[in-house]
């Protein structure tokens, strides 16, 4: 390993940045929860959680460098959960009609 030092920095630099972003987002989420936004609290919190998941998946799980197939698999989980939510709520949200 001739330029071992650069190698070492590569090990933690990217993930470290992602880690800081995640901690920051977490702090924002925690803080915003105390603001009286009504139903908005949940939306903000879940929105931030979604961003955190995206950062985690893209950087820490290295989804941004992975082959299309892996991304399709990851998207499949998401797609099917949308089916599940949409059709389950098609019942619960229309119970009163």
């Amino acid at each position: 390993m001739t330029n071992g030092r650069q190698d070492r920095r590569y090990l933690w630099l990217g993930p470290g940045a992602a880690w800081l972003i995640l901690l920051m987002l977490f702090a924002v989420s925690l803080g915003s929860a105390y603001l009286p936004l009504g139903a908005g609290n949940l939306a903000v919190n879940l929105g931030i959680a979604a961003v955190m998941l995206a950062v985690l998946a893209a950087v820490l799980m290295d989804l941004r460098n992975s082959v299309a197939l892996v991304r399709i698999v990851a998207a499949a989980g998401l797609f099917w959960i949308i089916i599940m939510f949409a059709l389950t709520f098609s019942d619960f949200l229309t119970r009163h009609y």
Partner: protein
């Protein structure tokens, strides 16, 4: 070189494909896990949409301090896990062992913290039952979800820690080389457990803060 040759498993033609295959397999398992937790999430969503108030009242009793500490712990463990994976792929053995060890330690710290939190919860009789202190009745449902969700998450994390410790030992004793496909699967799984927590945290701890 002979180190990595031992990593190749039947029936894979080469290590690159094997690593890709393990990663792919793990991602498929995670898609499955997403649906597993999806069942829980959709139940929570249905009930929350009909019991807005009760979930707010019940959510205010969740131990936000423990929850926050645990979130930080898990986020950090994801960071160390990624470093360990990168070190393993680059075949930097010492760093792999170090960061994998830190990751496992953080996982255990999470569980200890969780245990303390559970003790507090039980002291307040927040486990649904005859002594449950909150009303309306749907608050008990929120706490039902609290125990189910954190419990299932804790089981997943425990499994993760166990796997990390086994892998660490195998690396340490040079039973398997760090550069094989093992780390790929372990890391992806660990991040997934972290992701679940990222979703659970606002649902359980941030409900009813405002």
């Amino acid at each position: 070189m002979s180190d990595t040759a031992g990593a190749l498993q039947h029936p894979w033609p080469d290590l690159r494909m094997q690593r890709a295959g393990v990663g792919l397999g793990m991602w498929m398992f995670l898609a499955s896990e997403v649906l597993f937790f999806g069942g829980l999430m959709v139940s929570y969503a249905v009930y929350r949409s009909f019991n807005e108030d009760a979930f707010r009242i019940a959510g205010a009793h969740a131990q936000i301090v423990y929850g926050s500490i645990n979130t930080v712990i898990l986020l950090t463990s994801s960071f160390t896990m990624t470093v360990a994976l990168r070190a393993a792929t680059a075949n930097v053995r010492q760093a792999t062992l170090l960061f994998l060890g830190i990751t496992a330690a953080l996982g255990i710290a999470f569980l200890v913290c969780k245990g303390l939190e559970y003790r507090e919860d039980l002291k307040e009789h927040l486990f649904p039952g005859p002594q449950f202190p909150l009303s309306p009745p749907a608050t008990a449902m929120f706490w039902g979800f609290y125990w189910a969700m954190t419990g299932i998450h804790a089981v997943h994390l425990t499994a993760g820690i166990a796997v990390v410790l086994v892998v660490w030992t195998l690396f340490k004793r040079r039973v398997i080389p760090v550069q094989g496909s093992t780390m790929e699967g372990v890391a992806i799984y660990w991040h997934f457990v972290d992701s679940v927590w990222i979703v659970l945290f606002p649902l359980l701890y941030l409900a009813g803060r405002s």
